[in-house]
Symmetry: C2
Subunit: 399 residues, 2 copies
């Protein structure tokens, strides 16, 4: 894989935010060239390096009543070396869709001789493991994991830690193109290979996101992303005193983290989860507030933003409704950050009013925060889960 | 890459037509497993095997005034090991689109350090090389290569031979997904790796071909393909006496051949080119007519049909008009085959009448045939072309 070198890196305390890097070539072959002849603006990530990072990575697929054909396509695109972890919040009553997902995954794993884990978000053993480990922030009143994508993602990260992985990447289950899924995983691996710090994050930017209305129109950016990025850049600009547009992936659902970074971040519920990750990094390591983790502050936090070659074609769900539903929590996480000053707050209010997402004189609601995972007792979590690991495994042992 | 083993092989004299094989996993990683544990219904094609065949393969991209963004995406998806050969029939007057394609390709090759060739279909040197070599079937009255996709493809195959490649694969320039392009090349390589004979062909079947009208609808087969396959299967059924539906890729634009096979086939102009390839194979090697090439007849001809994981999303051009324009020549090549009996002829007439592609009592027009390439003088062709190779090369030498 060949990728452009980041043209610019914005530093904010210990945080290194790299500008967008384009993928140039999906498959750069096995031939090793002399580094001398390589263009300095381009980096070639060797196959073996990609594979090395893929082996250490779990790919989490959060899903909820997704079409099985899409789900099947997505798993078929994930490089063999990655551990697949499906966290499903699909219905189990009337039609047991979770069971169907499990069957599809089992068939895939049998044919491809690979291991995968699948777990239901409302699994009682998972809830017990979380409770015993002290991770109660994502549990609801029924003592099970709450509904919501963020809660599923967090549970899956703990499973990835229990499986002794070093990196976790997220890929949505509603992607039409297995080839795009494959590229995401490679972008994650490439990003980690470029990181100077063990605390690193890769966020994916889609080259185009086709809009299917009358014919095809290739949108460069989604509306939600555009507004979220603008507000986040306003926050950074106001801190540094230099205007910037460095953040282009504020809402990136497709993103990955080293688990050492993942365990020290504060998360937010629902659609605020992805913007909140950045906010947590800025709060914790920009040096404006006290550093939350000294080792990480010393190493620094590397953020990579990678623009894929493949467009992003996913299942379209709702119009305006979804826009507001996704926009509000993301902007709320910026608004309620301790770093957020008056100007950015006003910008957020203006944007939300423009979209009729709030009433005049109303503030966006406070995001529901989830404490960093490193405070929980991983030993306890792992010991409860290990006992039941067989029931989560998709690769059945042969007699 | 993991792919299903062909469930069934239809034999027609020396021709082995394999039933459709699904791709199961795009990237099966570097880990070699014990063959013992592999499922017998599944074949794992190791990365190094894929690369070995990619190195020996030229990927030909025929293009004509295609959007540059699409063209750029397509070349970015072609595995590094393959030699890219672009054969363009784009306009050169007013706006020099060929020049723009050349610039895009040059930029890509400079960044990715790979070689590619780009040649205009109306290039006078190409025409002279063809004339001197005795390949006049594709030359027009102006002594240049005629317009038409087939003519471009044939010229490109000769360039691939001159470049000492063993395989040639075709990929259209109007594909939206680089990840799908990458999969096509891998399907070709996998097919060749499974072939028992040096005379082999791989034809791609799309899992789905999304139709973008109101929302997205995933068509399993295009209408043209459906009718072409039906008529071709009728021809085979009537020869063997056993009804069959083995042919599922009669119109496959995405296909590849060993050059040893490519040079012994009779081709047809225009949209008949892909169905005619199969017809030539049936005529030459089914044993019903005299065998046209004894070595090939002895080795046999392997035809693979591979169903990709990625859907095929390409630029939509015209509606009914295109349907008829594509359908007629393909069916005409079956109709005018020496193998075609009364029943299949009647079926073809009925289908063409149903689509108003011909008038009652009218016959489909005879395809314009192009003699096999092995009759031409490759030495002469190569010597004329080699002299000008620098001007076709996209990778500029650095000082």
């Amino acid at each position: 894989m060949r990728i452009k070198s980041p043209g610019y890196t914005e530093c904010l305390g210990s945080v290194r935010i790299n500008d967008v890097q384009q993928v140039l070539e999906l498959d750069s072959g096995r031939v090793k060239e002399l580094p001398l002849r390589e263009n300095i603006a381009v980096q070639k990530i060797e196959e073996e390096v990609i594979k090395y990072f893929e082996e250490r990575m779990a790919i989490v697929i959060p899903t909820k009543d997704e079409k099985l054909k899409l789900f099947e396509g997505v798993i078929s695109g994930i490089p063999h070396e990655c551990l697949i972890i499906v966290v499903s919040n699909s219905q189990r009553k009337r039609v047991d869709r979770f069971r169907m997902e499990k069957d599809v995954l089992k068939q895939f794993c049998r044919f491809t001789r690979r291991e995968a884990l699948i777990i239901h978000q409302k699994d009682p053993v998972l809830a017990r493991a979380l409770a015993e480990a002290g991770c109660t922030d994502i549990l609801g009143e029924d003592e099970l994991v709450r509904h919501g994508k963020a809660e599923g993602m967090i549970a899956a990260m703990l499973v990835a830690m229990a499986a002794k992985k070093d990196f976790v990447g997220f890929i949505d289950a509603d992607n039409y193109f297995p080839g795009a899924v494959w590229e995401y995983a490679r972008c994650y691996a490439s990003g980690f290979s470029m990181a100077k710090s063990p605390y690193s994050m890769v966020r994916v930017l889609w080259r185009y996101k086709p809009k299917i209305s009358t014919g095809m129109f290739f949108n460069r950016w989604g509306r939600v992303s555009e507004i979220t990025n603008k507000c986040m850049n306003s926050l950074i600009s106001n801190k540094t005193g230099f205007e910037t547009d460095i953040i282009k992936t504020g809402n990136a659902g497709e993103h990955a983290m080293s688990l050492r970074l993942a365990e020290i971040l504060t998360y937010a519920s629902g659609y605020a989860v992805e913007p909140q990750e950045l906010i947590s990094i800025f709060e914790g390591f920009s040096g404006i507030l006290p550093m939350v983790h000294l080792a990480a502050a010393k190493h620094g936090i590397d953020i990579f933003q990678t623009e894929t070659r493949n467009p992003h074609l996913h299942e379209e769900k709702g119009g305006r409704h979804i826009l507001v539903e996704m926009l509000l929590p993301g902007l709320a996480s910026i608004y309620h950050s301790l770093l957020c000053e008056k100007e950015t707050k006003q910008l957020i209010i203006d944007e939300l009013l423009k979209q009729s997402a709030i009433q005049p004189d109303e503030e966006p609601p406070k995001p529901r925060l989830i404490a960093p995972l490193r405070t929980i007792n991983m030993k306890k979590f792992t010991s409860v889960m290990t006992e039941h690991m067989n029931s989560y495994s998709a690769l059945e042992l042969e007699e």
